[in-house]
Symmetry: C2
């Protein structure tokens, strides 16, 4: 499915303002609400929009710290990766997990009340026999920037 300039505008706007009214969205891209509706429906059904989320001010609800953790596995069979990934899926405090190339196997991101809560969690992970050989922790001391990806910049000149 091809996306034109207007479709990209829609996605870019929704990335920033997920709860904008459809009328306002239509006005932003200089279209009638009905035409905008057609496009939005099409984009949605084609799977370009994975979902909508509220960004909650975690720090106002409770004390919370973030930790970035490098993970190296003991063994690198397909089954070992699978076991580790399955384990990450079921731990709520693990808010993100990516496999990487470049010296280690995974980066995970953990949210915990404080350092000691983090330590308890990490100890549990280590003792649960999911094949973690080594890990290294980075405490997030300051969130500097967080912004959605620039949709326009990813497209070359000749793209449809």
């Amino acid at each position: 499915m091809k996306l034109d300039k207007r479709d990209l505008q829609i996605l870019a706007i929704l990335q920033e303002e997920g709860r904008i009214t459809k009328s306002e969205l239509a006005a932003r891209i200089s279209l009638s609400p009905a035409a905008c509706w057609d496009r939005l429906k099409r984009l949605d059904q084609a799977g370009f929009i994975k979902g909508y989320h509220a960004e909650v001010a975690l720090e106002k609800i409770a004390p919370a710290s973030q930790f970035l953790v490098q993970i190296e596995l003991e063994s690198h069979q397909a089954a070992d990766f699978q076991r580790f990934e399955d384990a990450m899926q079921v731990i709520p405090q693990v808010v993100r997990c990516v496999a990487v190339g470049g010296g280690v196997d995974y980066f995970i991101e953990i949210v915990a009340r404080d350092v000691s809560a983090y330590q308890v969690l990490i100890d549990q992970i280590l003792e649960s026999r999911i094949g973690v050989k080594r890990y290294f922790t980075f405490v997030v001391t300051k969130p500097v920037k967080e912004s959605p990806p620039p949709l326009e910049l990813l497209r070359g000149e000749g793209d449809d």
Copy 2:
């Protein structure tokens, strides 16, 4: 401002389904739409909700790769940190930047078309005299998990 169980439910639901209708949200927490409205308005005005965002399927729009980069600065004066952080703010491809403790100074996350586009960007950063001493790149080979923080788990038993 104090949050009761219902307020947390509201935030948790909105985190997952940012575009749920307010009537449906009210039904979920067993409240009338009007009562739910009061709470939502209160939460919003008190700044518990930073915003709403659509989650866009980047990979369907254009080829895109993610890179995690460890950054070490040459010098650690307050002004040096500031200059680096200011530089990160204005580069759209830098979708995230956090200061960390644990051997390096920053972690940044970059979205680029491919490895060569990433390399061009990194080279620009290095040549722009913002004090980067060393960096190390991890290519994201597989996004394993991505989920919002578990609001309930961060609260101890005695919290209000």
